[in-house]
Structures are given as structure tokens and as C-alpha cells.
Amino acid sequence: MPQMNMVQAINDALRLEMRRNDKVVILGEDVGKVGGVFRVTAGLYDEFGEDRVIDTPLSEGGIIGAAIGMALYGLVPIPEIQFADFIFPAYDQIVSELAKFRYRSGGEYVSKLVIRTPMGGGIRGGHYHSQSPESQFIHVAGLKVVCPTNPYDAKGLLLASIRDPDPVLFFEPKRIYRAAKGEVPEGDYTVPLSQASVVRPGKHLTVISWGAMIYEALDAANQAAAKGIEAEVIDLRTLWPIDIDTIVESVKKTGRVVVVHEAPKSCGLGGEIIAMINEKCFTHLEAPPVRVTGFDTPFPYTLELEYLPLAHRILPAIVETAAY
């Protein structure tokens, strides 16, 4: 099996699906000739031509609005938003239109598309090239939200997202675009949506995370293991609809929870997960669930490594929660 990084695996998935299905088109800023600012769409313009890999004007609203129209027609557009931070000019189309099309038309119309966008910190991008806006989409009924953490999942989840009947936001953790490497099967396979993955089994405590922070959670869990604490680490993979069963099963076993995410704490997905755990398995909780997250400030430049919930901040949370 070939070794790939995340960028290559996503590129591979796009190429595969574009060959398989001529309804798939890519559009966005700089996605064509130059293959995207992170080179995720590299080579696709050459293979599929400018009608299927489309450089657009600088307008996220236009990209998503037009993509919704294309999808109503029956194409499967995969618009790219250059950075998740720049998705907001298209927010109205996403939350008012894309999310509600099937519902508001009584099932007559479906706007099936996959919005790909790099998210998260770790590339010294400051306020506007680092954000993780997942909860701003999860709160809106009708959207699926996916976030892969390794090349295998990236390819399989993207293929599953493209073939899923609902609109999907596919957030790509850019901090690990090149750093996360692994074996990726050639050819077709999917990783099912809404199934979390237990990336490290453990019995003392459950760490729930996604995206680039999974590696930090694992790092912290390994350090905790040296202290005799066996943390189970859950990679959500699909953020919404969330795999509640895997979470509940783990928490019932461990009774202790740490949720880790890059986004600011308040009204992030972490709070939602804790509320759900309260609803589902309150009596199993042996310690207060804890969050290790980005702070409730804009994303800083110089101090980004202090802002991010890296292993050095996760470890104390694990230790304290285990000892509670």
C-alpha cells in the first residue's frame, strides 16, 4: 500500500471519485491551474479540465450559492473554501439554504454537496487562518460535519461524504496536512460516516477529540500511561451526527471524561458532548467532565502554541480527572 500524507490522500479520493462519477465538479479560489494553496487539488485541472476543476472569482458567497444551484441540478459539487475562516461570506447560503433545502421543500429538492475547507491552527496563521468553526454549523439542523485525522480516514471519509445523500462540511486539519502520514489503499473504499474510532483503548478515562488534536491527546495519553493511567482516546471522525454509542459505551466503562478541541470553549462542541453525556450516562460519571480547548479569545499569532490544547495541557487534565 502506498504511503501518503493527508493532502495526497484527499487528492487521491477526489481523483478517484471524479473518474468514477462525471457529476463531480470542484470549484473555488485557486483550485484549478495552481491546484489550491495547499495543493490539495493538484493535477486535477490537468486531468479533468477547466469545466470540472473551476477557478472562481473571489467570492465565497458565489462559490457556495452557485454550488447549491449545481447540486439542485444534479451535479455533486465539491466547493473548496480556501480557509475555514473565510467561510462566513457564504454562511447565509449554508445555514439558510443548503441546510434547509430538503426540509423546506418537503423533500422535493436536495442540495447535495461537500464543502472542503482547511481548519485549525498550527501553521502560524493568526486570527484568520486558524479557526475551527464546527459548532457554528452543527447547531444548524441539516448539515453533516466530518473531520479526518489520518490519510486512511481522510480518503475513506471523503469518499463516503461525497456519496452520502446529505450536504457535508469536510474540515481538513491543516496542521497535519503533511505531518500525518500512513498507508492508504489504492482504489475505492469508504469509511462510514457517524462512526467514531477508538484510537487507543483504556479503562480509566475517556478522551474525546478530533482533528489535529487527536495526536496531542494520544501523546498525553501515552505520557499518562507512564503514570499508570490508561486513557481511552476516541477520534470522533464525524462530528455530526455524532456517534453517541461509542462515547456512551466508553464513559460507562471509565466514568471519567476529558474533551479536547481547538475551537473556543464556550458553545463549542465540547460543551454539547458533556451535556449529552449527562443525559445518557450521568450515573456512571465518577468525576466532572473536563474540557481542554482553545480559549475564548480570537486565535493569537505569536502565542499559538499556548492557545492550542496541546499535550502539555491535556496531560494535567487527564491526571487530575483520573485522580478525582
Binding site: S105, G106, V110, K144
Partner: protein, 400 residues
């Protein structure tokens, strides 16, 4: 927009944006990408004040066809008036109609070919009925009952009609515009011969969506016809405060798009303009922005009282240009219409509507369960849970 003269007082000057070009991608020489955009500030007219057609512009529709379209206009108006009454009686919650704008809607929808798709704003129920949607389904939508095509999920007049190649109404202003562009562009990619028509008010030209949609359509030559119903008002804001440009048609220049102005209260003019624009789009000549000069004779919706912000005098002026009255005068002059026919279509419409209303009122509300369908293709666990919890709990007071 300046407010100077009554619509129809002869306007003659035209303008086409044909500047020479200075560019800067110096090394890439080459000719202009296409024809220069043409924008006409003439108001295109067919139906003259004396009730005859201008032979130079007459689209030459068969008399029967014209009579049919007039019937549609009358039906639209009768339905409009009756729905306002139903709203006043508290039997429906809301109505937003097209009083005074019937020619813009019927004329344009009639000009569309069967394969063309309509992306509506919210005043276009006349177009939906023209496309074949049964009146009953429209009325069910007004009542939000179990037979409502949108399953009682949206406000009245938020209809949908996929099988009639008619989009899904939503409230946010302008969102249909970019969607219409994407749809047409996709069809063009697939070499399918269809155009999209999208309706919006002159107020919507200020929206983000207008800008994005116009730009993408022009850059990618998407076969979309942008139908700007300039009805003078965006709720209480006059067209003159919406933009400092002299016309809405000239906004096309900014995008290198063709733009035209048309007497929106002249069914023949609307028909000819839209038919021509579709033909151009189909021939690969790109999109057109059509400014349809018309007037909203009623309030913005049943929630609005226009007396608070505009003068009766202005309304009276526009009543003289009422598109239904003008058409009727034309048909009568040609011997194609009569008092009796008029009474007949009004009565028939009224009767049909009454029957539909009765049926709609007798139809139950959508089921509780249906509230959780169609959020996703398959219902996820959290919605199943929420549904089951609701079903086992007590009902709201005043539950339908």
C-alpha cells in the same frame, strides 16, 4: 434611482458599454473575450397607450395564446384579492401577492420554454399555476396542511414545484439568484439546452447574492435571465433610495452583462424581452439582466400598511398603468374579450378557489412525526429520540 417621469413617457436614449480596452495582462495579448455588453436605457414597449401593439416590437403571439395569458393574469389577481380577505378573516396567516405586477410574472413565465427552470422570489404563484401546479396544492400551501407540498413547514407562499421546474421559495432575499446561476451553469456544462429565470425585486439588487450571482453568471456565461421586478418599493424603502444609479438595468455594465429595461406592465413587452433573452442565452451569448418597470399596487404583504409611507396619489398614478386593465382594453378593442368573459373567468376562479379552500380547511395539519422527516435523508439517532420524546409527551394547547 431618480424619480422623474411617468413610466411610458417616451424615453429614447440608449447606451451601450463599448469602451476600448486597456488591460494589463500585457504578455497575454488577444482580442476581447466576447461582445461588449449592451445596456439599453430605452424602456422596451409593445402595447401602446392607444391600446394597439407597436408593429416594430410586437412578438406576434397568436390571439388564443394572448387570451389565455390574460386569463392567467385575471386568475392571479382574483386569487390575490381573495387570499387577502382570507387573511383578514384569520383563516390563513399571511399572503404576499403580485397585485399590479401580473404582467411581469405571467409574461416572463409564458416566454420560458418548457425546459427552462424558474427560481422564484415570493410573488410568483401565478407562474407556478401557469406551469401546471394544481390550485389545490397552492391553497394547501397557504394553509400549511398535510397536503401542502412543503408539509406545513414554511409560511404561506413558500411553495415549491419541482415537477413544474419551479424552485423552492425561501424568505432570505436574493438567495435564489446565485442558485439559479449555478443551476444554469451546470446545465451548460452538461450541454443541456435550458435556461433559468430568476425573479427578485429591485431591493434585492442591494443583496450580496445579486452581486455574486451576476458576476458568476457573466464570468461563466451561465444561461440565466435575471428578472428584476422594479415595483418601486422594498417594503417602505423607495427604489430611489435603494441605489444611486439611474436605472437598475445599468447594473449589468458592472458585470459585463447585457442589460435591458422593459415596461413591466406590458405583457407583450415582457414576453418579447424574456423570449429574446432566453434565445440569446441558449445561443451561448450569456445572461441578461432585465429590469421590469412595474408597481406594487398593494401593501408589501398582508402584514404591511403602505399608507404609512407612500402617497395615495402615487398609487393612483400607477393604477392608470394597471397591466390587467391595459390588456383587457387591448383585447376588447380587438374583439377578443367581453364583459361576459371577464365575469366568467372571475367567477370560475372564485368558485375553484372556494372549493380548494374548503378542502384545505378540512385537511388536517401535518403529522407530528413529519416534523422530524427530511432534515436528513435518513433520520439520525438524536432526531429519533427527539421525535419519540415529543410523541409520548403532552400536546400543546392550540395544537393543530
Amino acid at each position: 434611482m431618480s424619480n422623474s417621469v411617468l413610466l411610458g413617457i417616451g424615453e429614447t436614449k440608449t447606451m451601450s458599454a463599448t469602451p476600448t480596452t486597456t488591460s494589463h495582462a500585457a504578455a497575454e495579448s488577444g482580442a476581447r473575450k466576447g461582445e461588449p455588453p449592451q445596456v439599453s436605457f430605452d424602456v422596451f414597449r409593445v402595447l401602446r397607450d392607444d391600446g394597439t401593439l407597436d408593429p416594430a416590437t410586437d412578438p406576434k403571439l397568436a390571439d388564443e395564446h394572448v387570451v389565455d395569458l390574460y386569463r392567467s393574469m385575471v386568475r392571479t389577481r382574483v386569487i390575490d384579492e381573495r387570499l387577502v380577505v382570507l387573511q383578514r378573516q384569520g383563516r390563513i396567516g399571511f399572503h404576499i401577492g403580485s397585485l399590479g405586477e401580473e404582467a411581469t410574472i405571467i409574461g416572463s413565465a409564458a416566454a420560458a420554454r418548457p425546459q427552462d427552470w424558474i427560481f422564484p422570489c415570493y410573488r410568483e404563484f401565478g407562474a407556478l399555476l401557469l406551469r401546471g401546479m394544481p390550485l389545490q396544492r397552492y391553497v394547501d400551501n397557504m394553509f400549511g396542511n398535510a397536503n401542502d407540498p412543503v408539509r406545513g413547514r414554511q409560511m404561506p407562499d413558500h411553495y415549491t414545484g419541482r415537477q413544474y421546474k419551479f424552485g423552492s421559495v425561501s424568505s432570505p432575499i436574493g438567495t435564489q439568484i446565485t442558485q439559479a446561476v449555478g443551476f444554469a451553469w451546470a446545465a451548460k456544462m452538461k450541454k443541456d439546452d435550458l435556461a433559468t429565470l430568476t425573479y427578485f425585486g429591485e431591493g434585492a439588487t442591494s443583496s450580496n447574492e445579486f452581486h455574486c450571482g451576476m458576476n458568476f453568471a457573466a464570468v461563466f456565461k451561465a444561461p440565466t435571465i435575471f428578472l428584476c421586478r422594479n415595483n418601486g418599493w422594498a417594503i417602505s424603502v423607495p427604489a430611489s433610495k435603494q441605489s444611486a444609479s439611474d436605472t437598475f438595468a445599468e447594473k449589468a455594465i458592472a458585470y459585463g452583462m447585457r442589460g435591458v429595461r422593459c415596461d413591466g406592465n406590458d405583457l407583450f413587452a415582457v414576453y418579447a424581452t424574456v423570449r429574446d433573452a432566453i434565445a440569446r442565452a441558449a445561443a451561448g451569448e450569456g445572461p441578461t439582466l432585465v429590469e421590469l418597470l412595474t408597481y406594487r399596487l398593494s401593501g408589501h404583504s398582508t402584514s404591511d400598511d403602505p399608507k404609512a409611507y407612500r402617497k395615495e396619489q402615487e398609487v393612483e398614478g400607477w393604477k392608470l398603468k394597471d397591466p390587467v386593465v391595459r390588456m383587457r382594453a387591448y383585447l376588447q378593442k380587438k374583439g377578443l374579450w367581453s364583459e361576459q368573459k371577464q365575469a366568467q373567468v372571475e367567477e370560475e376562479t372564485d368558485a375553484a378557489l372556494k372549493a380548494c379552500v374548503k378542502a384545505a380547511e378540512e385537511t388536517p395539519a401535518p403529522s407530528l412525526e413529519s416534523m422530524f422527516d427530511d432534515v436528513f435523508a435518513e433520520m439520525p439517532w438524536h432526531l429519533r429520540e427527539q421525535r419519540d420524546e415529543l410523541l409520548k409527551g403532552p400536546r400543546a394547547k392550540g395544537h393543530h
